[in-house]
């Protein structure tokens, strides 16, 4: 789960919800699924919360340079 991208984690979470809602699992599997889902949900929201500031770079001849967003025209 650590190596998942945000997108993969979110997709996995959607799958877990769908499986749980189908309700065709044993109770043990359901509980395990639920725990997995909670971990995925935690992982998704933490990643969103962690990314507070967006990275902006200026591409100059294929090289990245810092981009000053507050520069006035």
């Amino acid at each position: 789960m650590e190596n998942m991208t945000f997108e993969q984690a979110l997709k996995a979470l959607e799958d877990v919800v769908a499986k749980l809602e189908q309700g065709q699992l044993s109770l043990e599997e359901s509980v395990r699924m639920y725990q997995k889902g909670i971990e995925l949900a935690k992982r998704c929201s933490e990643e969103l919360k962690a990314a507070e500031k967006i990275v902006v770079k200026l591409m100059n001849q294929g090289k990245e340079e810092d981009f000053e967003t507050n520069k006035e025209e």
């Binding site: 749980l20 309700g23 109770l27 639920y34 770079k57 981009f67 967003t69």
Partner: protein, 425 residues
């Protein structure tokens, strides 16, 4: 001399009269640029006509506006025919437009239409070619002026919506003669760099000349050739450029391009929270179902009153035993044995009857035999004559001189035939 005041209405009526009777004001031909353009819901057009130094309000009523051959907008350079009059209620004067044409850009407009037709026929605008944007782009390329308002709008919107993304700004000229090649070069560069999942190509609002690079064929073809999906974001809502038609997605403004490029993290968090709620509901439902099932099982007779189960088993065991008793073969054997006995008895009786009658018959025969015995007869005086062991029953079988054997009941004698006498008959 005392001055007599007049009413405001009277003044405005007087001014209107004056304006309306001025030949110069009643038929004007004006060269101007449109700003503050508003299209009223009832179809009337309100705008300010201006040049570098001055401006005047103008209105074009719906009946005349319907005859327009172009789509007037902010910054349009126009030639206006009409008159000037006063609107009495507000005391404002304005140009009442009767005819309006585009000034000077007739050629550009023609170019635009021709290129649009050509590229459309080539299939550059076809809906099948439009690619879906990635839902969660990791890197977003923005091809625009690094100092313009557009790049700021895009960065502001994306960073507030989805800070997980990274933005790469590909600086490009977005107006002037060199702009088209600059934009094309950066689209190609971004494709070579292969860093971006989606590209935003555009600029903020401006005059039609300012936006013109986005109507150039080289830009259209660069967008078409891009392996990375492209969002166009040129000018304001009303501005449509060739780039908009070619792009995979058209954003009305750079800000909207940011909204189209990424999902809002608020929605994502809401989605994650909804997922948690749904999982909890599903698990709870599952638990309740299992609990109900457990309760039903627990309340089942066999578990709540285990002896009752045995009782019922006892009953059925009894029933089975009854059935078994009914089916017991001993009885049948007994009845069969009885039958056998009866048959045996009958047989015995029959045999003894038979024996008896046979014995009787035998005895009767023996008596008869006894009575018929030659010994008996010989006792009465008869003898048996044999010659050469042959019993002689006729005199004709004897000759004079034959030796015969005469048997009696108690012995025999050998005799010589001396004389034969045959009976006369």
């Amino acid at each position: 001399m005392e001055r007599k005041p007049i009413t405001v209405s009277a003044l405005n009526r007087y001014l209107k009269y004056t304006f309306d009777h001025d030949k110069n004001l009643q038929s004007i031909l004006l060269k101007a640029e449109i700003s503050n353009f508003k299209r009223h819901s009832r179809g009337h057009l309100y705008m300010t006509l201006k040049d570098d130094a001055s401006q005047i309000s103008a209105v074009m009523f719906q009946s005349q506006a319907n005859t327009l051959l172009f789509d007037p907008k902010e910054g349009s350079k126009v030639l206006v025919e009409g008159y000037v009059s006063i609107y009495e209620t507000s005391g404002t004067y304005q140009v009442y437009i009767q005819k309006m044409t585009e000034d000077g850009i007739g050629d550009l407009f023609l170019q635009f239409e021709q290129l649009k037709k050509k590229l459309s026929e080539e299939g550059l605008f076809s809906e099948e070619r439009k690619r879906k944007l990635p839902r969660f782009p990791k890197t977003i390329g923005v091809i625009t002026s690094p100092t313009g308002a557009a790049v700021k709008d895009v960065i502001r919107v994306i960073s507030s919506r989805y800070p997980l993304a990274k933005i790469l700004v590909y600086p490009a000229l977005v107006q002037g003669a060199d702009a088209k090649d600059s934009i094309k070069k950066q689209i190609e560069q971004a494709n070579r760099d292969q860093q971006c999942d989606v590209l935003i190509v555009g600029r903020g609002g401006g005059s039609i000349e300012d936006l013109w690079p986005f109507n150039e064929e080289v830009v259209a073809r660069a967008i078409y050739s891009s392996k990375i999906p492209v969002i166009s974001a040129v000018g304001h809502e009303v501005d449509f450029t060739i780039a908009d038609f070619v792009a995979d997605v058209r954003a009305a403004t750079p800000s909207q391009a940011g909204e189209l490029a990424v999902v809002d993290q608020k929605d994502l968090l809401r989605g994650v929270n909804l997922a948690i709620t749904r999982m909890q509901a599903a698990l709870l439902k599952e638990l309740n179902m299992k609990r109900t099932l457990l309760e039903r099982i627990q309340s089942a007779v066999v578990l709540s009153k285990p002896t009752r189960m045995l009782e019922s088993k006892e009953v059925s065991l009894d029933r089975l035993l009854d059935k078994l008793t009914l089916l017991n073969p001993i009885k049948q054997i007994a009845s069969e044995a009885q039958r056998l006995q009866t048959l045996q008895n009958k047989l015995g009786v029959a045999i003894s009857h038979q024996l008896e009658s046979v014995t009787q018959r035998f005895l009767r025969c023996a008596d008869k035999l006894d009575m018929a015995s030659p010994l008996n007869i010989m006792k009465k005086g008869y003898s048996l004559v044999k010659k050469d062991e042959e019993v002689i029953t006729s005199v004709n079988k004897l000759h004079q001189g034959d030796t015969i054997n005469v048997s009696f009941c108690d012995g025999s004698a050998v005799a010589l035939v001396q004389q034969l006498r045959k009976d006369e008959s």
